[in-house]
């Protein structure tokens, strides 16, 4: 029993150390940045006495270590400080903005998996054939073009050209502010409120950004699925499965894929973390009120508390995902003790 506890404590320790390292680096970057945080608070025209008062209030004049220590001790009590721009506590900002990014990233991951994994399987089974080449070219193209180009192209074709999707933004203007925010996930909240009109409106607004993010992250999933499947299909047990008279597809899906599914867990965890980052640019083009846009705005204006807070949250999500992937790996893969 204590081996399990020991290994759990070790992982927990490593997670804490990672988060600590993350906070130190982000905090230092914040303080080292040549942007005077007071500028965002009082503006360039403010007289010297107002500037001095603001600096004192933000504690910018104390030595760096003191600033860091007071910041971290607050963080441990859940107070990530206040954002200069929104004047809200960073925690409430993150709680407000994170669901929008989460909703987009999760749906994108879902679609990227539903399309990426089968594509990987097919191109592995038909290795070297034309289908294999086409699938790989299409998927890799998604990853070879910057997201913002994909986003603008998507808007040009589907929004302006074909009028198939609504424009940037998370909701139609009519529904703005109409859906009471329970979970912050628009789809869920609109269903909870029983407002089908708002639900479909949210779906339409989600379509293009989600498809683009999904397409962008499909390349990695497809490539990894293909590599794992190629490896599994070389296994001897495939021959014994065929020798049992199983059909081609039931061999692939029944025997090769279960081996691969386990390994895909880590790939999906990495992709999901990457998606949270990919959202940063997609949100600017699609005017999506998510964490990515909140972070870039704060960074551009030298508003450091949100930058450190958000980076910690994204870092924590990333570390959490890795931890989850490890645990799932142990649970689902019988080979691991």
């Amino acid at each position: 029993m204590n081996r399990k506890v020991k290994s759990f404590a070790a992982t927990l320790g490593s997670v804490l150390v990672t988060l600590f390292g993350l906070s130190v680096i982000t905090f230092m970057i914040g303080r080292v940045m040549p942007v005077d945080p007071v500028l965002a608070a009082v503006g360039d025209n403010a007289p010297a006495d107002v500037v001095a008062a603001a600096r004192a209030e933000m504690g910018l004049d104390d030595p760096l270590i003191v600033q860091y220590w007071s910041y971290i001790s607050n963080v441990l009590q859940g107070d990530f400080g206040r954002s200069v721009l929104t004047r809200n506590p960073v925690i409430s900002d993150i709680a407000h903005y994170f669901p929008a990014t989460l909703e987009m990233a999760t749906l994108a991951l879902l679609i990227a998996t539903l399309l990426g994994v089968p594509a990987g399987i097919i191109s592995a089974v038909k290795q070297g054939s034309l289908t294999d080449q086409i699938i790989r070219v299409v998927c890799i193209a998604g990853h070879s073009v910057p997201v913002f180009v994909l986003a603008l192209l998507g808007l040009l074709i589907f929004y302006v050209g074909l009028d198939l999707v609504p424009g940037p933004g998370r909701q139609g203007v009519i529904y703005d502010g109409m859906v009471p925010s329970v979970t912050g996930l628009l789809l869920v909240d609109s269903l909870l409120a029983g407002d089908m009109g708002a639900f479909w409106d949210a779906v339409h607004h989600l379509t293009l950004p989600v498809l683009i993010l999904a397409y962008f992250s499909m390349a990695y999933i497809t490539r990894m699925t293909r590599a794992f499947m190629l490896d599994a299909l070389k296994g001897e047990f495939i021959i014994s499965a065929r020798a049992k008279g199983l059909s081609g597809w039931s061999v692939v899906m029944g025997h090769a894929f279960p081996n691969v599914a386990v390994q895909l867990i880590t790939v999906l965890a990495l992709t999901y973390a990457g998606l949270l980052e990919g959202a940063v640019i997609t949100e600017t083009v699609f005017a999506w009120p998510g964490l990515g846009q909140y972070l870039t705005t704060a960074l551009m204006n030298g508003d450091m508390n949100p930058v450190v807070g958000t980076t910690l949250i994204i870092g924590a999500v990333y570390v959490g995902l890795n931890l989850l992937a490890d645990i799932l790996y142990r649970v689902f893969d019988p080979r691991v003790a």
């Binding site: 360039d44 900002d93 929004y159 609504p166 424009g167 933004g169 479909w200 005017a287 009120p289």
Partner: protein, 534 residues
């Protein structure tokens, strides 16, 4: 709060709950008739409290929610119109000013607007002492003496006493800024939290008497204004929604598609291409924001006035305006922006390479010198910087470009570490002194001076100019005051290390069925209250 049912009932397009496909065929309906949708960059706005806000975006919204004591006349900059104050007069010794408050104005909460609200509002600005407070506290008010200096003698009369004799024209111009907004004392003080005079609450709420009041503000997402029921407004608009769309390309697409009525941040090129689209029309107004190349006088190569003059003759103002800036900027070479009283609008400098070269030779740099030129990384600054770099190269000055995020460049300038720098300056209130003061008055040029105005950053101190600026500011007679400012500017353009180049023009692109948008030199006077959607 408007419930969704009755809101939808009043709009023509009731959206049935249908499956995805049929929704796709039906083109996404233009926005409803009683809703005005504006796409705008709302990300640099920290507060909606009229007595604290200093950013352009914020002050525009505040202008739509609060009424000021007086407001500048949109057509004639030398005239100030009555607003909350019907009339005003100065005492003989020019140290006491009495304002008559108009009757029958109601706040959005329903409370009557009285002189006490006006007095309290001005006192609040001075006591909070945030960024814009200097506009009013420059008349000698301090948190300690302001209660005694500004009083409401009766519900209809507001009396302001100043320490020194002051020109009523100058005082009234200052009161036309947002610090002159009258807020509902009763509602605000009811939300006071440990002595902050309700500033935490007023950041995100409104207590004004103008046409609109604040419904919601989701930072970096949207600002929704609804009609103030007590403002006696009969127009068609029930709701104004400002949507935060950062990317101009997205704003452009949504405007052409009709999903938004107004786009506020289109680029020069986009405005050019929109001219051919007759479903969109443009409204332009010169803004009180100027762009200049400042030279740090403490730098050895930039200490000689001849070098300043040479740089001013080297720049191809018209070429840059025509080829890069289009209609988004006009050439303007003096510190009082066009549209403000006392503005000097003539073009003194045009590109003259030989003159610039001879001036450089006189200054001892026949074959020029190397210098660093800082500029913002946001467009159009990089394009302008590259064009100026090419101009300077023609006269031998080899400029190395260093671009940086806006606040990063400002931080470098405020720390006096720049050599040459292209930056912008927004005017704070509707008076020539609003720019004369920061561009000239630099009493203490030492590094640890108490007040560090814009001019201080470039180490420039000219006692003669300073005297002229203060004299013009205190001139009592309005006409003579304007004359003195023109004199000051004529001298300034040659005698200062600032090559003022352009004045920003704001362009609002809107659907052709939109009318009545009011655009003013200062954002606090922009207004949607007369907008109609046919």
């Amino acid at each position: 709060m408007i419930t969704r049912r009755n809101f939808l009932a009043s709009t023509a397009a009731a959206i049935p709950a249908v499956s995805y496909l049929s929704m796709a065929q039906q083109a996404f309906a233009d926005t409803p008739k009683n809703l005005l949708v504006v796409a705008q960059q709302l990300d640099n706005m920290t507060t909606l409290d009229p007595h604290v806000s200093f950013e352009a975006t914020g002050s525009e919204i505040i202008g739509n929610m609060y009424q000021q004591l007086v407001s500048p006349n949109p057509e004639n900059p030398d005239v100030v119109d009555a607003d909350v104050a019907e009339s005003w007069e100065a005492s003989d010794d020019d140290k006491m000013f009495t304002f008559k408050i108009r009757d029958g104005i109601k706040f959005s909460s329903g409370n009557e607007l009285t002189a006490e609200d006006a007095a309290w509002s001005l006192r609040r600005t001075v006591k909070l002492n945030k960024s814009p407070a200097f506009i009013i506290s420059q008349f000698g008010f301090t948190p300690e003496n302001v209660d005694e200096m500004i009083q409401a003698t009766d519900p209809r009369t507001l009396v302001i006493k100043t320490a020194e004799p002051t020109s009523i024209g100058f005082l009234v111009y200052c009161l036309s800024a947002n610090i002159g907004c009258v807020a509902d004392k009763q509602t605000v003080m009811a939300n006071e939290v440990d002595g902050d005079m309700g500033s935490a609450w007023l950041d995100k709420n409104s207590a004004g008497s103008a046409t609109f009041m604040l419904n919601t503000w989701r930072p970096s997402d949207a600002v929704v204004l609804t009609v103030n029921p007590h403002a006696g407004y009969e127009g068609p608009i029930e709701r104004v929604m400002l949507r935060h769309i950062v990317d101009p390309a997205s704003q452009m697409l949504m405007l052409t598609k009709g999903d938004i009525d107004i786009a506020r941040n289109l680029t020069a090129e986009q405005l050019e291409s929109v001219k051919s689209d007759d479903s969109i029309k443009l409204l332009r107004k010169q803004q009180a924001s100027i762009m200049q190349l400042s030279m740090n006088v403490s730098h050895d190569k930039l200490s000689d006035p001849k070098v300043w003059e040479a740089v001013k003759w080297a720049i191809d103002y018209q070429g840059i305006k025509d080829n890069i800036l289009g209609d988004t900027y006009e050439v303007h070479q003096s510190f009082v922006p066009n549209g403000l009283p006392g503005a000097l609008n003539d073009t003194i400098f045009t590109q003259d390479i030989d003159k610039a070269k001879s001036l450089l030779a006189e200054a001892g740099y026949p074959d020029g010198f190397e210098i660093e030129l800082d500029h913002y990384s946001a467009q159009p600054y990089p394009d302008i910087a590259q064009a100026v770099q090419a101009n300077l190269a023609e006269v031998g000055i080899k400029a190395k470009l260093i671009s940086g995020e806006n606040r990063q460049v400002l931080t470098k300038m405020r720390a006096r570490q720049h050599q040459m720098i292209i930056s912008a300056w927004g005017t704070d209130y509707f008076d020539p002194n609003a720019n004369a003061d920061p561009y000239i008055i630099n009493k203490d040029n030492s590094d640890d001076a108490t007040s560090k105005p814009f001019v201080w950053r470039s180490h420039f101190q000219d006692d003669e100019l300073i005297a002229m600026a203060e004299d013009a500011r205190d001139e009592k007679d309005p006409a003579a005051r304007i004359e003195k400012y023109l004199e000051l500017q004529k001298k300034f353009v040659h005698a200062s290390p600032f090559a003022i180049m352009f004045q920003k023009t704001a362009t609002v692109a809107m659907r052709d069925n939109i009318d009545g948008v009011i655009l003013a030199p200062l954002p606090s006077n922009n207004s949607y209250e007369e907008v109609t959607k046919t």
